[in-house]
Symmetry: C2
Subunit: 202 residues, 2 copies
C-alpha cells in the first residue's frame, strides 16, 4: 500500500480499492448476491457514491468479474523455470487454489457466462483463451516441441477440450474430493495434457 | 407408423407424435424460439389443444428436451460387438452426427442448463450420467479391465472430465472444423479416453 489514511486517494485508486473489495466479496457469494448495497455496507460509504463510481449493477458486476479474471490470469502465470510439466504443475496448482478460494463466485460466473449473459461470456471466453494461449507462446512452444508437438488446428482443438476438462474436474473435486488427494489431482491434470496431445487429430 | 389417418389415435400416442415434432423443430431452433404457437402451426392443430396436452410453455420445453435426451441416449447406445475402442468409436460417431443434426437446440439446452434452469439442468446432468455410466456397466468394465483399469473415484473424475472435453471439442468442431476431418476427430476422441485413464489420479 502506498497510500496512508492521511493522504486523500485519487478517484481512480479509490475505485480500484473498491473493485478489490468487490472481488473479495464475490469469492463467497454468487453474482446475484453481490449487490452495490453490500459493497456500500462493507466499504462504509454511501450507495450514491458507488453508483457514481460504477454506474449500474450490471456495470459493477462486469467490472468486478473483469478484475477477478485479471487476478486469476496473473496468479496462474507460469514461472520461467523448469520444463513444461514443472511449469504446468505449478500453474494448475495455483488455479486450483484460486477456485477453492473463490468457489461461489466462480461457479456463478461460469453459469452466467454459459447461460447467455453476453458481457460475462466475453470475459469468460477471453480469460480461458488467455489461460490456454500460454501453451502456444514462446516458452510454451518450446515445451510442446520437446514433446514432438507442433501447433495445428487439431492441437488447438485438443487444448480447448483439455481446458474444459480441467474446469469440470477441478469444480467437481472442489465440491467433493472423493478421497482423491490434491497432489494426485494436480499430477493427473498435468499429465493429461501431454497424454491428449499424443492423440491429437492430425 | 402403425396408425393410419382413418384410425383415431389415443391421446397418449397423439402427445407422443407431437413431442417428436417438437424435437424435430428444436433441432434447428433455440429453446427460446420453440413456442407452442409454432408447434400448433406445424401440427395444424389449435393452441388450446396443445395447452391441453402440455400445460404451459415450461412443461412443454421440459417434455421436448426430455424426449430429445432420450433419443440421444438411444442413438448412441454402444453395440455389443467389438472391443472397447470399436464400440466407443461407433458411439462417438453417432453422438457427433446427433449434435450436427440438432445443433441449435443442443447449444440452447447446454446454455439453459448451465445458466441455472434447474429442471433442464437436471435433464442435462442425468443424460450426461447415462452417457458416461455405460463405461462402467458390465461390457464397459470388461473393456476397462482390458486396459488394466479398475473403477475408482479418480477414474470416475477422469471420465467426467473426458465427457466435458468431448462436448467442448464436438461443439467447437461443428461450429468450425478448421480442416480437421470427421474421422480424425472421432479417432482422437476415442483414443483420448484411454490416454486420460492412463494418467488418472490414484
Amino acid at each position: 500500500m502506498t497510500s496512508s489514511p492521511r493522504v486523500r486517494m485519487t478517484p481512480e485508486s479509490r475505485r480500484e480499492q473498491l473493485l478489490d473489495l468487490g472481488v473479495t466479496l464475490l469469492a463467497t457469494r454468487s453474482l446475484d448476491e453481490l449487490s452495490i448495497e453490500i459493497l456500500a455496507e462493507e466499504a462504509g460509504i454511501s450507495r450514491g457514491l458507488l453508483y457514481h463510481y460504477f454506474g449500474n449493477k450490471h456495470d459493477f458486476h462486469e467490472a468486478v468479474v473483469r478484475r477477478a479474471a485479471e487476478d486469476l490470469v496473473a496468479i496462474t502465470a507460469p514461472g520461467g523455470e523448469g520444463d513444461l510439466a514443472a511449469r504446468l504443475t505449478s500453474s494448475i496448482d495455483r488455479y486450483l487454489g484460486w477456485v477453492e478460494a473463490n468457489h461461489e463466485g466462480y461457479v456463478s460466473l461460469v453459469r452466467a457466462a454459459s447461460g447467455g449473459n453476453e458481457r460475462l461470456r466475453e470475459i469468460y471466453e477471453s480469460t480461458r483463451s488467455a489461460l490456454t494461449d500460454r501453451i502456444f507462446d514462446a516458452a510454451g512452444a518450446e515445451g510442446l516441441a520437446s514433446l514432438g508437438i507442433t501447433d495445428s488446428p487439431g492441437v488447438r482443438l485438443v487444448v480447448r477440450g483439455w481446458a474444459a476438462l480441467v474446469e469440470e474436474v477441478v469444480l467437481s473435486w472442489v465440491e467433493d474430493d472423493r478421497g482423491v488427494s490434491r497432489e494426485a489431482l494436480v499430477g493427473s491434470l498435468t499429465a493429461s495434457l501431454a497424454a491428449l496431445l499424443g492423440v491429437a487429430p492430425s
